[in-house]
């Protein structure tokens, strides 16, 4: 009979190796680094807009309208003589803020409802998931446009409209993950340990199910920025004269044959932002999946 001490094992060495490997994984995770750089630069531009922008984004100079790019106006001016570059920089502030906030609200609502539905099951689950089905039956843009019409254009109604429509995705994702996690033995063990349902859901299941929702949120920000741009293009978005990429594309498209940069450059910025967020989401999904944490 061997005593338990015969199996004593030291972890110090392995532990240190794991620590440095985690840091290396960050560097080696190309898409995560590219995403962080792109999104980080965009956030920096948005934050530093008052310093970076050469002109007031809403000051009109009708005498200088529709100028071609020059040393004074690198991207030219729009039909009201406003500097396109300055509007682009200030627009980053509006679009990124609305994009992130419009994701945060449904992320919280959807995750909480999905987790409760998945964990407790029963009639609560049935009712919640049928409501989710109803929301899913309507196309995203149709619902958003209708809701913005009802509440009137402006930032607040965009938040309400997007939150009302997109919480269902988070509810579905988190519910599915909770259904898997709650059957794991560690959840049974926590119950045997005398822990309450609230504690198990927040401390034991939560951290294991949220990574999928966080990854989805990254691509959802892209969706929401597209939605804001689309609403801006349709004249339902942020109220003019606030600088915003969607309304810039809308304004610029009239002059696409003579002043192509007015619509094209904001369009390219939207594409780059989406690319950055997608890369970030991709990289995060690699980093957050526990299978990779060896």
């Amino acid at each position: 009979m061997t005593t338990p001490t015969a199996a004593l094992v030291s972890f110090k060495q392995r532990h240190r190796a794991v620590g440095s490997r985690t840091i290396k994984a960050w560097y080696r995770n190309g898409s995560l680094m590219a995403g962080i750089i792109i999104v980080g630069m965009l956030v920096l531009v948005a934050v530093l807009a008052p310093i970076l922008a050469p002109y007031d984004p809403i000051a009109q100079h009708l005498t200088n309208a529709l100028e071609s790019p020059s040393a004074a106006h690198w991207l030219g001016t729009d039909k009201f003589g406003r500097d396109v570059l300055s509007r682009l920089i200030w627009g980053a502030q509006v679009d990124l803020r609305v994009g992130f906030l419009a994701v945060l609200i449904p992320f919280v609502i959807g995750s909480v409802l999905g987790a409760i539905a998945g964990y407790f099951g029963g009639w609560l689950d049935t009712v919640l998931m049928r409501i989710v089905d109803i929301f899913f039956a309507f196309p995203f843009y149709v619902m958003v446009i209708v809701l913005v019409f009802v509440f009137g254009s402006g930032e607040a109604s965009i938040y309400i409209a997007i939150a009302a429509v997109s919480w269902v995705s988070y509810a579905r994702i988190v519910r599915g993950e909770v259904l898997i996690a709650k059957k794991q033995d560690y959840v049974v063990a926590a119950r045997l340990g005398g822990m309450s349902h609230a504690r198990i859901l927040t401390k034991h299941i939560g951290p294991n199910v949220l990574s999928q929702a966080i990854i989805y949120a990254m691509s959802d920000i892209v969706m929401d920025i597209m939605a804001i741009v689309t609403l801006g293009y349709l004249g339902l978005g942020i109220n003019p004269p606030t600088a915003e990429w969607g309304s810039m594309i809308n304004d610029g498209q009239e002059f696409i044959t003579t002043q192509w940069q007015q619509a094209t450059i904001p369009g390219l910025v939207v594409v780059v932002t989406s690319l950055g967020l997608s890369l970030l989401g991709d990289g995060l999904s690699d980093l957050l999946s526990p299978e990779r944490r060896k």
């Binding site: 009979m1 061997t2 005593t3 338990p4 001490t5 015969a6 199996a7 004593l8 094992v9 030291s10 972890f11 110090k12 392995r14 532990h15 794991v18 794991q184 033995d185 560690y186 049974v188 063990a189 926590a190 119950r191 045997l192 340990g193 005398g194 822990m195 401390k203 034991h204 951290p207 294991n208 526990p290 944490r293 060896k294």
Partner: protein, 345 residues
């Protein structure tokens, strides 16, 4: 001399109902089976300070019984007594603390995102086992008890091997100071080389802490040197209970004999292949009439197909659910006969 039972179940049954669509229920004919009896009247008692092995094939209901004992599932009917008092269906924090479980799969039984130290700390504080200042010392004591060092505290489960994970799972079960441990096939997911060390750990826990342990296994060989008593389960029933040495030397149920004979041996007698079970265990949706073992039993007679035997005493502390228990040929003689037959052939 019988020790006082710490845990006793009587006439426990557990049925599961198969969910069927309305259409299939309407078209179903008379002999359709939609209800499954995982446990069909189980009587068992766990004595203080003993290791009782519960052995049976997959699907015999041993895991279901383990789940009922720890309160993970409620039985369809039957009684569950803890120290002679009926256990409530919904256990409070303190009641669930007293009976802890070690799971089969050490990979899904530890939360991948909680470090070993945080896991133990949460339990110790929740049940106020020790004051906050002594949590670390107590955690280290628990780790040492299961053969791990202090530096495992800040590590995550993914940094450990299967055997080490099982040690952590045992430390977690012990953290809340239970007096009963239910181990659901705790070594069957481990490498053979590691199995022995974990079995030793269970033996030392029983010796040093006086724990009462129900050790579920699908293999008699695993528990031969560990348990004091063995209960054999077949298709939702206990078919034989005896002290380990008695069970191995004098099995009084044909199924137990089959289990014993299925243990690989490294001796000349291991060429004995006389008693090999044929066929799969019957579907629990469609339990055979009479003795539930009769379709696979070489000793089955007409009476076995007609009467469903209960668990009856055959010797002191030895019960068997076989009508022909007394008539069964002596096992060791059966062994030697087959050996001589092989030798003369």
């Amino acid at each position: 001399m019988m020790d006082a039972p710490v845990l006793r179940v009587a006439a426990i049954t557990k049925s599961y109902h198969l969910q069927t669509s309305l259409a299939s229920r309407l078209s179903r004919n008379e002999n359709g089976h939609t209800s499954l009896r995982a446990l069909d009247g189980v009587d068992l008692q766990l004595n203080k300070g003993e290791i009782l092995a519960l052995v049976g094939e997959s699907g015999s209901g041993k895991s279901t019984l383990a789940k009922i004992l720890v309160g993970g599932t409620t039985p369809t009917s039957g009684e569950l007594e803890y120290h002679g008092e009926p256990m409530p269906a919904h256990r409070d924090k303190d009641a669930s603390r007293r009976i802890q479980m070690v799971f089969q799969d050490p990979y899904s039984s530890l939360n991948p995102r909680i470090s070993v130290g945080a896991m133990l700390k949460e339990l110790l504080l929740l049940h106020k086992i020790v004051p906050r200042g002594e949590v670390r010392a107590e955690s280290v004591r628990l780790l040492n008890l299961v053969g791990l060092e202090e530096d495992a505290l800040q590590a995550y489960p993914s940094q450990f091997s299967g055997g080490q994970r099982q040690r952590i799972a045992i430390a977690r079960a012990l953290a809340v100071r239970p007096d009963i441990l239910i181990a659901d096939e705790p070594v069957s997911a481990l490498d053979v080389s590691v199995q022995a060390t974990i079995l030793d750990l269970f033996a030392s826990l029983q010796r040093e802490l006086g724990l009462s342990i129900l050790f579920v296994a699908h293999n008699l060989a695993v528990v031969q040197h560990l348990s004091q008593r063995v209960a054999v389960m077949y298709l939702g029933r206990i078919v034989e209970v005896a002290e380990t040495s008695e069970l191995f030397s004098n099995p009084r149920h044909p199924y137990t004999r089959a289990l014993i004979d299925s243990i690989p041996r490294m001796t000349a007698e291991s060429v004995n292949e006389e008693f090999v079970l044929e066929g799969e265990p019957p579907s629990p949706f469609n339990v055979p009439a009479g003795c539930r073992f009769n379709p696979r039993c070489p000793y089955a007679k007409d009476v076995c197909r007609a009467t469903d035997p209960g668990l009856e005493p055959v010797a002191a502390g030895h019960q068997s659910a076989c009508i022909r228990a007394a008539e069964l040929p002596d096992h060791s003689i059966a062994l030697s006969i087959s050996a001589t037959r092989k030798a003369t052939a």
